[in-house]
């Protein structure tokens, strides 16, 4: 049984079809890159994974659970912008990952102290400890995204959704963020979905690369048909196929015969 299962999902807004017949099964710990033309429905797909909106047909389940009706702590998210709270300091933004899950949204006493210590440890880990008391607006774009990812991780989501998280960063910072994300992923074995416009980035980070496109096209009515997953590339091992075939079928090894 796969960890995230997307079964025959359709999405339409009014009489415009955005997505149709989307089927995909994802194992726990897989990193899924999503690419496709602008406006083809990648963010829409992510919003449905997030349960921010529900598909007009089909269902999405995580670990066999009931389809969610609204966003919850199972699903973490980082958007291209506005993912951190501008009125909270860097440390408070991390602490919010624990505090917001309480009745009043705040911790007190020993809990608070412990949460702050954990936050400081995480900030050190993601290299933001020197700006812990600053507000996000005074951080660079790369630092803000690192903070956003750190904040999302604090809630220990089972699935992390990233919508063009590095789209607004310069190439150098982007590379640093790739390293950061790969390290984080190796540590946590989290399932990640990442939308990107950068194919190279998609293949570099992803275990699989999903391509969204419209298989049918009505020139008189562009909204008639929606996009779906047209390719599902195996991007492990630098995109070279069959690198692990011997793990799966040891009998194929020459000396085993």
């Amino acid at each position: 049984m796969s960890f995230v299962s997307v079964t025959d999902v359709w999405q339409r807004y009014g009489d415009r079809s955005i997505l149709e017949r989307v089927n995909v099964a994802v194992n726990e710990g897989e990193f899924i890159s999503i690419v496709g033309a602008s406006g083809c429905g990648k963010s829409t797909f992510l919003r449905m994974l997030l349960a921010e909106e529900r598909p007009s047909r089909g269902e999405i389940r995580i670990d066999g659970g009931e389809p969610a009706v609204e966003p919850n702590r199972e699903r973490g998210v980082v958007f291209q912008r506005y993912s951190v709270f501008p009125h909270l300091t860097v440390r408070q933004n991390i602490v919010a990952g624990e505090a917001f899950d309480t009745t009043w949204g705040a911790l007190s006493g020993a809990n608070r102290k412990a949460a702050r210590e954990r936050a400081d440890a995480l900030l050190k880990r993601i290299g933001l400890n020197h700006v812990a008391d600053q507000y996000p607006a005074s951080l660079s774009g790369g630092m803000q995204q690192r903070l956003a990812i750190g904040q999302a991780m604090t809630a220990k989501p089972r699935v992390l959704l990233l919508d063009e998280p590095f789209g607004a960063l310069d190439p150098g910072t982007r590379l640093a963020m790739h390293v950061f994300l790969m390290e984080l992923k190796a540590e946590t074995n989290m399932t990640v979905f990442m939308v990107t416009h950068d194919l190279e980035e998609g293949f570099k980070l992803g275990d699989r690369v999903l391509v969204f496109d419209k298989p049918r096209w009505d020139p008189h009515d562009p909204g008639a048909y929606g996009a779906t997953i047209t390719y599902d590339f195996d991007a492990k091992d630098g995109g070279m196929p069959y690198q692990r075939i011997l793990d799966n079928y040891p009998s194929l090894a020459p000396e085993a015969g």
Binding site: L50, N72, P86, D101, S138
Partner: protein, 270 residues
């Protein structure tokens, strides 16, 4: 260089800022001089020195019968009404604005209603308020509340709606309930807006206050101005006007300072 790119130097800037004030003062002194030269008992434009003496008398000398200094009594009465009205309006509009901005059900229920309400000219309701609440304090405070709450509510609810949706979604993925989103995400971000809203509304609040006091009252800054108008006591009126302006200025300045101190994150990016 283009006009839009020319900026005055520092001394020039100060001089320019002072110019309109100086111009008014000079124009007044000259006109007053001319009128008093023609008719020494003219009451319309008393000499600046006369106003100054009247002002000192108003601020320091007690009433002949009771010994109370009327100006301070008026100030206290008016400020109590003003702060009462503005305080209630602020609390109301903050609550309503958050409800409308965050809850789709409250939005459907209230936003059109508030929009229509804000079209009602508050002063036209004044007689009704006097009939319903009597001539006492209540009707004056209520007039201020009715006068500024709808506008403040509309603005605040819009501000809540303007909070990027990403933030609201993000808070949910961190496990925040509606209450937590209201208290920890929306509220802190619109408090600065509430203060600038109060600053904008204070002008109207003063207007409603003075109108209500002028119509029915026995104490208050507006009451006094309209009372002494009968004796053409321009020196008293002018003193009161300057005093009210000064109070308004100080309140505005205090709110501005408070806002800057209390919300450092607003300026973090600048």
């Amino acid at each position: 260089m283009r006009l839009i790119n020319r900026t005055p130097s520092r001394p020039m800037a100060v001089a320019l800022a002072a110019l309109p004030f100086v111009a008014i003062a000079v124009a007044y002194s000259v006109s007053s001089e001319i009128r008093l030269a023609a008719n020494p008992s003219d009451k319309l434009l008393p000499a600046p020195s006369t106003i100054w003496e009247t002002a000192i008398r108003l601020f320091t000398q007690g009433d002949r019968r009771t010994g109370e200094i009327l100006l301070w009594k008026d100030t206290l009465a008016s400020l109590t009404r003003l702060f009462g009205g503005v305080g209630i309006a602020a609390a109301l509009s903050l609550t309503l604005g958050m409800l409308i901005g965050l809850l789709p059900y409250a939005r459907r229920l209230l936003s059109d209603f508030v929009a229509v309400l804000s079209m009602v000219p508050p002063l036209a309701l004044l007689p009704i308020l006097f009939i319903v609440f009597g001539l006492g304090e209540t009707s004056k405070v209520v007039l201020i509340v009715i006068g500024i709450t709808p506008f403040m509510t509309r603005d605040l609810s819009q501000r809540v709606l303007d909070i990027p949706h990403e933030q609201i979604v993000k808070a949910q993925t961190l496990g925040a309930s509606s209450l937590v989103i209201a208290l920890r995400v929306a509220l802190p971000q619109i408090l600065p807006r509430l203060i600038s809203n109060i600053r904008l509304s204070l002008g109207s609040a003063w207007l409603f206050l003075i109108a209500a006091e002028a119509v029915a009252s026995d104490v208050g800054l507006g009451y006094r101005i309209f009372l002494v108008r009968r004796y053409l006591a321009m020196d008293v009126i002018l003193t009161y006007v300057v005093w009210i302006t000064f109070l308004a200025f100080v309140i505005d300045w205090a709110l501005k300072t408070l806002s800057r101190r209390a919300f450092p994150w607003m300026e973090a990016g600048l």
